[in-house]
């Protein structure tokens, strides 16, 4: 039987990874992720977890060591944030394009400059075109659960793509919630042992990643994109399997909250969703028909489900904890608009940006965004709303 514990998000990531019986963990400390690897090191050094722990000298090497171990046929784990993710970008891109499955936790953090160590989603969002699957979590329970689901998803033969489990730095990584921690037996019953063959093995000598001409490389890219789309289906299957095993379902690639008959929707990513739920409940109490779409997966982007969820609304606002420098908007706003395509016509919509660099993304700010949407005169794009201290009802 599992156990009910009060855990930080980082501990949930550690316990989730440990339950998946990784062969090897390589990591480098960085705020706010550090306690993930500290906890795992403690488990390995105490003998509680049978895994190789490689204490590397940088995130570039963290991703390189796990890449080598994965190429040699191991289940591997690492975690990082912000500058660490930026430093590991080179082997990070290669991990997905080598199609080596793994799970990496990202305690999301704002990118420097200006100098900062606090929360934000700019790090994970900035690498969304690196071929990884990216999942964002709202609660600590979800972090633990999605690490288990992440391995099942990544290792599915239809997918074979590494997975990021992202959660808000500090707000989730350092704050405690009550969490059901499965027993090892329960985790084993859900997640089968790693069964993929080693790519580098003298028993079957092969050249891994030789120089590849464009015609052939194009086929690799196409296959990767097709696997990304196939992953959308596998996400839903894994969610159902997980619900059967543990009684918890998250709705797959998106969660639609009170969207039945909704006139307006807030679209959220990660921990901000909790505050947005309160806003939706409060406005429903006032007779304003608000609902919420939580983007659980951003890569692959669940375009069909977003389109379906937002098809009937008069207006929507997408709240981003990061920016898209090319669009005067947040990145998920841009992508939600792309997903809607022709269905955008007739809707009021705007991008709301807040919670950068650890700034609070408050209920009051989200309520202000919602009221602005409800008060929209006519359809079309409205100016980007910067959620700051001044934006209150």
């Amino acid at each position: 039987m599992g156990e009910r514990m009060a855990l930080t998000g980082n501990k949930c990531a550690s316990y989730g990874a440990a339950l998946c019986r990784p062969d090897l963990i390589a990591a480098y400390p960085i705020t706010p992720q550090s306690s993930v690897v500290e906890e795992l090191a403690g488990l390995v050094y105490s003998g509680a977890l049978d895994a190789r722990m490689v204490q590397v000298e940088s995130e570039h090497s963290a991703m390189s060591v796990v890449q080598g171990a994965a190429a040699a046929g191991g289940r591997v784990f690492t975690a990082t944030s912000a500058q660490g993710l930026a430093l590991m970008f080179e082997p990070y891109f290669r991990m997905s394009t080598l199609r080596l499955p793994m799970v990496m936790a990202i305690a999301t953090r704002e990118m420097t400059s200006p100098e900062t160590i606090w929360s934000g989603q700019q790090d994970a969002m900035s690498v969304r075109e690196a071929g990884w699957i990216q999942c964002f979590c709202e609660t600590n329970q979800e972090i633990l659960d999605m690490i288990l689901q992440g391995y099942m998803l990544a290792e599915d033969p239809r997918v074979l793509i590494p997975v990021n489990i992202c959660y808000d730095g500090f707000y989730s990584s350092h704050l405690m919630e009550g969490v059901d921690v499965p027993s090892q037996a329960e985790a084993d019953a859900f997640l089968p042992p790693y069964g993929l063959p080693a790519k580098l093995d003298p028993r079957e000598p092969r050249s891994l990643d030789p120089m590849t001409p464009g015609e052939l490389l194009t086929k690799y890219r196409r296959s990767h994109l097709e696997a990304m789309q196939a992953a959308l289906e596998v996400v839903e299957e894994v969610d159902i399997k997980f619900a059967k095993a543990f009684g918890r379902s998250y709705g797959g690639a998106i969660e639609a909250y009170r969207m039945d008959g909704a006139d307006y929707a807030l679209v959220t990513v990660g921990g901000m969703t909790g505050a947005a739920r309160e806003v939706v409940d409060a406005l429903r109490g006032e007779g304003l028909n608000f609902g919420l779409v939580k983007l659980r997966f951003t890569r692959p982007f669940p375009a069909a489900r977003v389109r379906e969820a937002l098809a009937g609304v008069k207006g929507f606002a997408v709240v981003d904890r990061s920016v898209s420098f090319g669009w005067d908007a947040g990145p998920m706003y841009v992508e939600a608009c792309a997903a809607l395509g022709g269905l955008l016509a007739g809707k009021a919509h705007f991008s709301a940006i807040g919670g950068l660099g650890g700034a609070d993304l408050s209920v009051a700010q989200l309520a202000a965004a919602a009221r602005r949407l409800a008060g929209a005169e006519g359809a079309g794009r409205m100016d980007t709303l910067w959620l700051s201290e001044e934006v209150r009802q």
């Binding site: 190789r52 082997p91 003298p202 050249s207």
Partner: protein, 300 residues
């Protein structure tokens, strides 16, 4: 078994017909290291001359009889750390884990990864073939390029004549990591070379083994392809490239009490053809100082 017997009888592991330049020192080093390590190995050859020459293969074709990967230019040692850990975990420590990388991938952008793996005692043999620059991309300078060398990024100009800095002496830095085995070798001294590679492979079962090999480059340095071994021999004879080894703090060297001069070493090498007297003097002082330092380390 003598070194000759090993080289004559051990099967070749490298793809036949790689497209290295005539007289390439790196190709000889690669071929011999792979032959001595054998097919029960995992090899990594990062971007550089040997990858460019086709060691890792083209498209889906490769004639190597052992698995090989082209890691990133700057992560060879850390990538192979992961491979090594998995082979140990699976109870297959008999598999040789061997990296063969140039000086750019080892001494410059790969240096952090190399230092990290050495410090952790990752179990592998790491061979650096040092041809003193980025020869695969057109002879640019690296941190191991000798002072005064004319390269495509440190040309012999009227204002500045060749590389202004001396070479970074990487093998000594690696030895200071307290690794299991550290050595220098030269393709001109094959008995010594074979013994050190064998020694390094044995040591790689216990920890990190590093061999820094002098790799003459006729195309980039500007000398006749037929002169490669002679150039390597002169590098050793001049004490510019002393041969030594260090095993867990115990130092040994091949003493050379009557060295040839650096003027004799640079003779006929194009990249040194416009050396002025001052630069030649600095090269001579650097070689003498390096030899003296190693000699003291090896003194009983």
């Amino acid at each position: 078994m003598s070194y000759m017997d090993i080289l004559k009888t051990a099967p070749q592991v490298l793809t036949p017909g790689t497209s290295a330049c005539q007289g390439c020192g790196g190709e000889l080093i690669l071929r011999r290291v792979m032959q001595i390590a054998g097919a029960n190995s995992v090899f990594a050859v990062p971007p550089g001359c040997m990858a460019g020459a086709g060691a890792v293969g083209w498209s889906d074709t490769n004639g190597c009889t052992a698995p090989m990967h082209i890691p990133l230019l700057d992560n060879t040692a850390s990538f192979m750390s992961g491979v090594s850990e998995m082979y140990q975990r699976r109870g297959r420590g008999d598999v040789n884990i061997v990296a063969i990388a140039g000086d750019g991938a080892s001494a410059d952008c790969g240096f952090q990864s190399l230092s990290g793996a050495a410090e952790r005692g990752a179990r592998m043999l790491y061979v650096c073939y040092d041809n003193e620059g980025y020869m695969n991309t057109g002879f640019q300078r690296s941190s191991t390029t000798s002072r005064g060398s004319s390269t495509s990024t440190t040309p012999s100009g009227a204002a500045i004549n060749g590389k202004e800095q001396g070479a970074k002496y990487v093998p000594l830095i690696l030895a200071m990591h307290n690794i299991e085995y550290c050595a220098t070798a030269s393709p001109s001294h094959m008995p010594d070379f074979v013994a050190k590679v064998k020694h390094g492979l044995e040591a790689s079962k216990r920890g990190f083994a590093y061999i820094h090999v002098f790799s003459p480059c006729p195309t980039g340095w500007g000398f006749k392809p037929s002169e490669s071994i002679a150039v390597a021999r002169r590098a050793v004879a001049s004490n510019m490239f002393p041969l030594w080894e260090c095993e867990r703090g115990r130092w040994y060297m091949s003493e050379n009490r009557s060295p040839i001069t650096m003027a004799q070493f640079v003779e006929g090498i194009g990249k040194f053809s416009r050396l002025d007297a001052a630069a030649l003097e600095e090269l001579q002082e650097a070689a003498s100082a390096r030899y003296e330092l190693i000699r003291r380390l090896c003194a009983k």
